[in-house]
Point group: C2
């Protein structure tokens, strides 16, 4: 696979020039990783049409060389990344007007720009790098596919080991152990394992609550491979499903299927959301689907585009998005079925290969 | 245990008044949890001497009632937390000058204050809540102790299962599974499991690299209990330790022991750091101890105070800090031994009860 980073830096450089900037200060860590490959937790990057500068600290001395190579000028700053920035920005010829990433710099650091950085003119920017990240290239889709596959294999190893009487925490332990054994370099986000009525809480963290026969058991989790994440949800029944559980489950499953088949580049996020929502509404469950249909994934688990009632933006070709309809009945339980879908030139491709039929753990 | 939150809100209210503010907008999520108990990922809080307001979204409708109760006025905002803020701040009598948390608000949201929030005068503040959080009360120390104990039991379960030939990822899987089984509600931070030469990288994430006989194997990880975290490190040898491994290990162990015994409220973070550093320097290894001695822990894994060469601040009574000297020889390996220590009124109490003698996995 050709190194995608020079192309990304060139595209960003074009965007910087189009925004009438001499340079962009990149502070968002996922943006830094996308542009340079650096995966550490502390860095500042400056991109100009001629040059890329990366400043980090001594903890990453070995790692930054391995990851960035000759792509950028790397500076190891002993005291403060910011003092390194003033020094090296000053040495860059012809840089006067500098953009900064408004969503990725806290006010305290913004004040540094105005004070210690008062030699430069600072311009707030939004999403210059994110707009590039929306459209995944082949290599990125391959990484996400691997992260999706790791998640699928981990769930397949976990389900046969689940028993009534286990705590949600113990089930999470099984799942996360399997994720590691399957090669996940980390967790895309804190795993959700929610049993019984707790499956109706869209953001339930696992607790000491015990799984009981007759419960819905909801897993929402992800793997991480070469920095790219997956985000999948499956809901199973412990023991035999009741008629009501089956009924709700099948509505969610069909909503998932319809949306996964219909979503494509060029439609708005709102229209994608409506495919699943209108089906659920026609079955009288619309008020129990309280969140939006999905979101982009990539280096982060929530990135552009959004698939939601308020998302007017057109879905770009190359995006990878989640399709995750759900129905939640407070005090009773909830069902969510979430897949990851790539919006290719010739239509959607569902990356998730985990059965969607209702699983009864008996 | 008495509910500590009213006392915290009263103390913050005093600090707000002392700073000549009518109110403080709290955006840091750990600060919000400390003040109100709310553990969700999306909230704005306003504290005035008379009133506490918490705005969140519908995903947390059930959770926020359970966690916050009658402590604050809770608003569920359907569209945007910010439009809720303008509405409810406007209804609060006598609020003109409002502080915001400069380290916890991104520039994009700061712009909202100046634009949509232009009716109010905004003042940057730093650390008003963090200064309260530094001094842990009995209930907080008890939570951290439980998180420390969970970490210790998880490591004790993991070590006997480690075998040469396992990948770092597989070992991380064992450790994290044990953390969950012991009751950890999450991971305090991404676990570090680093074998052989990789143990010399202070921030190594686990990889497919295989553990070999003769390797140092470094574990740096934490548990989380009721929101409070632990942060511990142990380094073992797979097989029999060489004389050189043992020599480096014993220097780090003695540095850890000296610093844990000497650290106390009222000394500066620099003096605490110097206890371990001067011992390591006397053994000719000072240049291989490239990071600082430690940091506070609590609701976050890195919080005030710092124990470092540049930390002039006096360590406050009640803080819980890490003591984590290390020696890292590039290409060969590294040793770090990290404990959590409470700075009580009558001296330090080491919370970590995990053996520090060199463990050989044979």
């Amino acid at each position: 696979m050709a190194d995608a980073r020079p192309r990304r830096l060139a595209a960003l450089s074009d965007a910087v020039t189009a925004a009438q900037l001499d340079a962009l200060l990149v502070t968002g860590l996922a943006n830094i990783r996308y542009l340079t490959g650096f995966s550490g937790s502390s860095a500042l990057v400056v991109v100009t049409p001629r040059d890329t500068l990366l400043i980090t600290d001594f903890r990453y001395q070995t790692q930054v060389v391995d990851e960035v190579g000759a792509l950028a000028r790397v500076v190891i700053e002993p005291v403060s990344l910011w003092s390194g920035l003033w020094e090296h920005l000053g040495a860059m010829g012809g840089v006067k007007v500098v953009g900064f990433e408004s969503p990725h710099i806290v006010h305290r650091d913004f004040q540094r720009l105005l004070e210690a950085g008062s030699r430069w003119q600072w311009r707030a920017t939004s999403d210059l790098v994110e707009r590039l990240r929306e459209r995944k290239d082949e290599g990125e889709v391959a990484c996400i596919q691997r992260a999706v596959d790791v998640a699928g294999r981990a769930l397949a190893r976990t389900l046969p080991a689940v028993r009534a009487g286990m705590t949600e925490l113990a089930v999470a332990g099984l799942l996360e152990h399997a994720l590691r054994d399957e090669g996940s370099e980390g967790f895309a986000f804190p795993s959700i394992v929610a049993a019984g009525a707790r499956s109706a809480l869209p953001h339930a963290q696992p607790t000491g609550h015990r799984v009981a026969v007759g419960d819905f058991l909801l897993f929402d989790f992800g793997a991480s491979v070469d920095g790219y994440v997956s985000d999948v949800t499956r809901t199973v029944v412990v023991g035999r499903a009741s008629a009501e559980q089956r009924e709700v489950y099948e509505v969610v499953r069909e909503a998932n299927r319809l949306a996964s088949a219909a979503v494509h580049a060029g439609m708005t996020g709102r229209d994608a959301d409506a495919v699943a929502r209108s089906y659920i509404e026609r079955h009288g469950l619309g008020e129990l689907f309280g969140h939006s249909l999905g979101h982009g994934i990539g280096l982060e688990v929530h990135e552009a585009p959004r698939l939601a009632r308020t998302a007017e933006q057109v879905l770009p070709q190359g995006a990878v998005v989640t399709i995750e309809p759900g129905v939640y009945r407070p005090g009773w339980g909830g069902v969510r079925i979430e897949d990851d879908v790539w919006l290719g030139a010739h239509g959607p491709r569902v990356l998730t290969d985990i059965p969607r039929e209702l699983v009864e753990l008996v």
